[in-house]
């Protein structure tokens, strides 16, 4: 085994020339900002190559063995994007500017007429639509997240996808769609206008559809792909309407024009909140769809039908952040401290409420999931909702001119986006590692043992088949532990720093300024405790206790393609939280000198010794719920020591031992309750939507088809029949006499002529 994988490092050699492309471009004098085009184009140009070559050379030895069915080519193009992104980030940081805007290329030229009170004329205030690169602190953070995670997950996917027989000779499709998706994500982050943001947003939606439906022969995958596309499409259509409204207000969709002074519209008009707020709410509906928030959340759990790297990439780390990114882009509109439009408090409250509701709902559904990926899917939904909650509070606080608190929570929310993307990307890859190895162990067992096929009965994703993997998968178990700790918010690790800022400032807003924020604030604290429970439950069911299925007893970690990204992200998750917090990341992300949060000491002080007594109480309750109460209950229910003779390394062994030390708790009564049943059915949202569609759209379309064929076309057919019988009647006048015919023709022609001349004179 070892030798075989040692050799595979040779396969990375084709990456070397790709690494040189960006430095060469830079030496040739390409502006650092224009490297953004290279970052977008590299995967875009590689997409058709991988797809078509893979289709034509399907099964070819070199293609499969050396190029991993296009995986190496995809990785090379992502390496180009990664280096270009680093180059741009370094350039941006060296400039010490708040934003950098490159030259833009005109895409569509057109004119708009407007009425100035006396007459219609071409209005020069409306600009054309162009494309360029825009960098500010938010976009470079997301650019780093996107390029870094796309690269690592592609690396992981080479190991995950190409070792599974079911994918062989199909992987080129996977890698092609993967890099097309990456191109969409990079483009969305770098675009300098709302329209191009939307364009790349839709490209990601397409790739999400294609990748969820990768196992196209499974009916569940086909249905899930359609559901994902349709649900996000509902949001996207409203997003598009929002764009139209925004264009009408500002005469442009370019960030440079709109953000220059959001309170001034096209032609120097004053922008009114009553016009702008509906537009932003329309945009927000799009964000709700894309980021899987209540009530458009139903697609995300089903999207787990896709291969695990897809779940890691699209449905945890990158695409679902698009909605958050767009909401973060709304900040300048409401920020009355800097030319914002006054009177838009409602927007922030709506965002915060949607976030609070989704966070709580998703966490409660995650309680009862047994599929390891579904737990992570609901966890993603819940954590994204946290970020929405933070952004909503920020939007409210900024609109109400409490800019200190507003910028603080904005920075915290965006920092949570970073922490969550890193941790959740890793968690999905770790779950993929588990699924991959359990599946292979099961496969090997059947191959070597009795030959009767029970494949369909065994679900390698079901945690009830796992248990006791801690000793067999050391790297994966540590990675998953660190990821879970970051998501839970165990003090000093990853997500703790950011989640604390969100909860504290939302409470501050609720207590000091707006009682309506109290609802989301309470939900946030409850969800923190629930997160502690369901993440610990997942880890315990997978890694602690005894193997619950013979396959789990024969698992072992194998390919370095899978381990490398896990190790890398473990380090990132474990360290960057504190590291970045000490580097004023919150201020950097919110783009403002908020005057506090000066490094890690202040961050700690803000957390543990805030100035307000009430916040201190809230903070300690949150930490107690999420780090103690939730995990301990989970350990009591699902923990247990490993099988005899098995031992795990250091921290993992301690954790497993700790879980075994608690007295087990029996929850079967609760598990059979009606509430649990309702949670199993995802609170019946899917059923209700399904029922509504089957009662409205389905009969309506059937009726329309019938109406068209029988009423509208029926009238046409009636005319046909009448004219046929009419011609039968006319036939009685066919005397066969030529003179009669000439007479009739002459009379007819003359009467038509007279009619026309008479009418027209």
């Amino acid at each position: 085994m070892g030798d075989k994988h040692q050799q595979e490092w040779n396969l990375l050699l084709p990456l070397l020339p790709a690494l040189l492309i960006v430095p060469i471009l830079a030496v040739l004098g390409v502006e650092p900002l224009d490297l953004g085009f290279a970052a977008i184009l590299a995967p875009f140009l590689m997409f058709p190559i991988v797809l078509l070559v893979g289709q034509i050379w399907n099964g070819n030895d070199i293609w499969v063995g050396k190029l991993k069915e296009g995986g190496i080519l995809a990785l090379a193009s992502l390496a180009v994007s990664l280096i270009a992104a680093f180059w741009m980030i370094v350039h941006f940081l060296s400039l010490h500017e708040k934003k950098v805007h490159g030259d833009s290329i005109t895409w569509l030229n057109f004119d708009v007429l407007s009425h100035d009170g006396t007459q219609w004329s071409v209005d020069a205030g409306f600009t054309n639509i162009s494309f360029g690169i825009w960098l500010d602190s938010v976009s470079i953070m997301l650019l780093f997240v996107a390029t870094f995670l796309c690269f690592l997950i592609c690396w992981f996917a080479i190991g995950y996808m190409t070792t599974d027989e079911i994918n062989s000779n199909r992987n080129h499709r996977f890698f092609a769609e993967f890099i097309l998706f990456s191109m969409g994500m990079f483009g969305m982050v770098l675009a300098d206008s709302f329209l191009w943001l939307f364009i790349f947003w839709e490209i990601m939606g397409l790739c999400s559809y294609l990748l969820i439906g990768f196992y196209y022969w499974k009916e569940s995958a086909a249905a899930a792909a359609k559901k994902a596309f349709m649900t996000t499409r509902v949001g996207d259509v409203f997003l598009m309407v929002g764009l139209l409204m925004l264009y009408d207000i500002y005469g442009s969709l370019d960030f440079a024009v709109v953000f220059d002074d959001p309170s001034t519209g096209v032609g120097g008009t004053v922008v009114e909140a009553s016009k702008l707020q509906p537009a932003l709410l329309m945009l927000f509906i799009g964000c709700v769809g894309k980021s899987a928030q209540f009530p458009l959340h139903v697609w995300l759990p089903d999207a787990m039908e896709g291969p695990t790297p897809v779940s890691a990439l699209i449905h945890a780390a990158t695409m679902v952040n698009a909605g958050l990114y767009l909401v973060a882009r709304m900040v300048p509109f409401v920020d009355v401290y800097h030319h914002g439009v006054p009177g838009m408090e409602e927007l922030g409250l709506i965002v915060a409420w949607i976030g609070g509701i989704t966070a709580f709902m998703a966490a409660s559904i995650a309680f009862v999931q047994n599929d390891i990926k579904k737990v992570l899917a609901y966890s993603t939904m819940s954590q994204l909702a946290y970020i929405f909650l933070g952004l909503g509070s920020a939007l409210y606080l900024l609109a109400a001119d409490h800019h200190h608190a507003g910028y603080f929570v904005l920075g915290g929310a965006l920092f949570h986006l970073f922490n969550h993307a890193m941790a959740k990307g890793m968690l999905f890859m770790a779950s993929g590692s588990v699924i991959h190895e359990v599946h292979h162990a099961h496969h090997d067992l059947h191959h070597h043992g009795h030959n009767d096929d029970h494949h369909e009965e065994f679900d390698p994703q079901d945690m009830r088949n796992m248990g006791g993997l801690a000793s067999k998968m050391p790297v994966t178990s540590i990675a998953m532990m660190l990821g879970s700790m970051s998501i839970i918010g165990i003090p000093l690790i990853g997500g703790f720093w950011s989640k604390e800022a969100i909860i504290a400032e939302t409470w501050l807003g609720a207590l000091e300024y707006e009682p309506l924020l109290l609802g989301p604030a309470i939900l946030a604290v409850m969800t923190a405790g629930m997160t502690g429970f369901y993440m610990t439950r997942m880890w315990m069911m997978t890694f602690a206790g005894q193997p619950k299925h013979e396959a789990s007893a024969h698992v072992h970690e194998s390919t370095p393609w899978i381990k490398t990204p896990l190790v890398t992200l473990s380090i990132v998750t474990a360290t960057t939280g504190a590291l970045l917090a000490s580097m004023h990341v919150g201020e950097f992300l919110s783009g403002e000198e908020a005057g506090f949060h000066l490094g890690v000491v202040d961050a700690l002080k803000h957390t543990f010794f805030p100035e307000k007594q009430a916040l201190m109480v809230v903070g300690y309750i949150t930490i107690a719920l999420s780090s103690l109460v939730g995990p301990i209950i989970a350990m009591k229910v699902h923990g247990g020591k490993l099988a005899d003779g098995e031992s795990a390394n250091g921290m993992v062994a301690w954790l497993v031992g700790l879980s075994a030390a608690f007295k087990p708790m029996d929850v079967s009564g609760m598990a059979n309750s009606r509430l649990a049943d309702s949670l199993q059915n995802r609170l019946h949202f899917d059923d209700i939507y399904q029922w509504t569609i089957s009662k409205t759209i389905t009969p309506m379309s059937a009726f329309s088809a019938w109406f068209d064929a029988n009423v509208i076309d029926g009238i046409v057919k009636l005319v046909e029949r009448t004219s046929v019988s009419g011609s039968m009647w006319i036939r009685t006048y066919t005397t066969g006499n030529t003179r009669d015919y000439i007479l009739m023709a002459a009379v007819g022609a003359l009467s038509i002529f007279v009619l026309i001349v008479g009418v027209s004179q």
Partner: protein, 538 residues
Amino acid sequence: MTFTDPLSIITLVPLLSGLLLLILPNVLPQHISQRMQSSVRNVAIGLSTAVFALTTLIFLGTIGQIDWLSIGMGSFVLETEDPVWLIESIGVTWHLGADALSFPMIWLTTLLIPISMLVQWDVERGHRFHALLLIMEGALVGVFVSLDLFVFYVFWELTLVPMFFLIMIWGGEDRKYASMKFFIYTFTASVLMLVGILVMYFNTADSIFSGSLTGHHFNLVEMTEQARVSGLIASEGLRHLVWLLLLIGFATKMPSVPVHTWLPDAHVQAPTAGSMLLAGVMLKMGAYGFLRVAVAIFPESTLTFVPLLVFLGMASLVYGAVVCLGQTNLKRMVAYSSVSHMGLIFLGIATMQPIGFAGALFMMFAHGIISPLLFAVAGSFKHHYHTLEIGSMRGIAHHSPFLAGHMMLGWMGSLGLPLLAGFVAEVAIMIAFWMTFGWWVLLPAITLIFTALYYLTSMQKMIFESDDPHQGILPDTLHGEDPRDVTWHENVGMFILGALTILFGIMPFIFWDMMSVWSTEFIETYLIHAMNALEAMP
């Protein structure tokens, strides 16, 4: 009398050579005609490719050195200079010209002809089929280049003839009914349009184009100028009547609800190439004629009837999409989606905004690229699986990966995915629609959800859900054979259309710029006076 200018060549060469290729095998001796029959398709595709190359060279400016962005409203490029009399007594001239409204359509026609020939490369009785397509090309180009309403009308009706035979001879089981319905339905509507044209004719003032006998002329340029300066018809009621007559003719061709039912029947029965041309170019004749004749000459009537336009457009768009959802036949679904998309063109025109007009123009062009792709996919599906029922064949991604890929691209293009050609048109029309009609924009916007729904449902049932070639097929359609992927010529044809869909999605400005300039000038020249007058009214 010369017919050697580029526009005459691209009109007459295909027309006459098509006629020649059709007639010659019947008059020549047996052994020569048999040898000729096998080479007709080579000649036809060679000729049409040459015509396409010529059109492309005109576009690039190599021929004629044309600057498409500064033609000027009311003037035309490659225009016939002196009137060439065809019927001097009543004032019919051979008068051709192109501008930014017609040229993209001309280019599209010359592009689609060789592609549709390629897609049906090995059709039975191909020597007649490909010759008919050449005649079709001449007639279609003729509609777009002629600036004489008489010649325009002749070409307009002439397009029906080859299409009638294409459906009648090479169509499906119910071809006889469909071809007769297609012919009679659109012919009846055109006759009403002819009445309108004749009324306009009898109101023309004296000019160099006037016929020696009647003192009137059919020249469109003159008529438009006369209408702009002094109004073509004095009586307002008659103006509205003529406008409505023209609308009936054009709306039936487009087609708009409620005069659309000939289209699904014609499409389902037509051979693939016929469907491609029907959806790709023939439908656009309606929108082209509407802008060129009805809107340009009767701006006041157009403004008066804007609510009617919105109603027709909205009805086509929304109703067409909902009917699509209820279809089980692939070609019928695609046909209704054409009805739905054509509704957007009326909506774009009704906004009376330059960006809305430009969006409508680009929709004509983009739909002209995408819908032939859709019909090529549907035709290949029928060709290989002998059925058009959605869901009768599942999992074509497995046994026809190329067909599945083309289908995916075409469907996505048609539902308005960004970076594919249709999106630009949709977004432009929607921007204009919001500016003019405000929250009504939610209707077309929500229709986009329905559009996605019917396309995705059909893909789910055809591309996905199986990898067993014999699961879900109607029992007798494959006759026990294994399904195969598309043939090379179908594949090449669809690849070209797919590539163009992407190209014009990423670089719409290739044609968009001239359309946008044209739209602004058109509104400023013909409509803005009427708009100001309307606004000034209490």
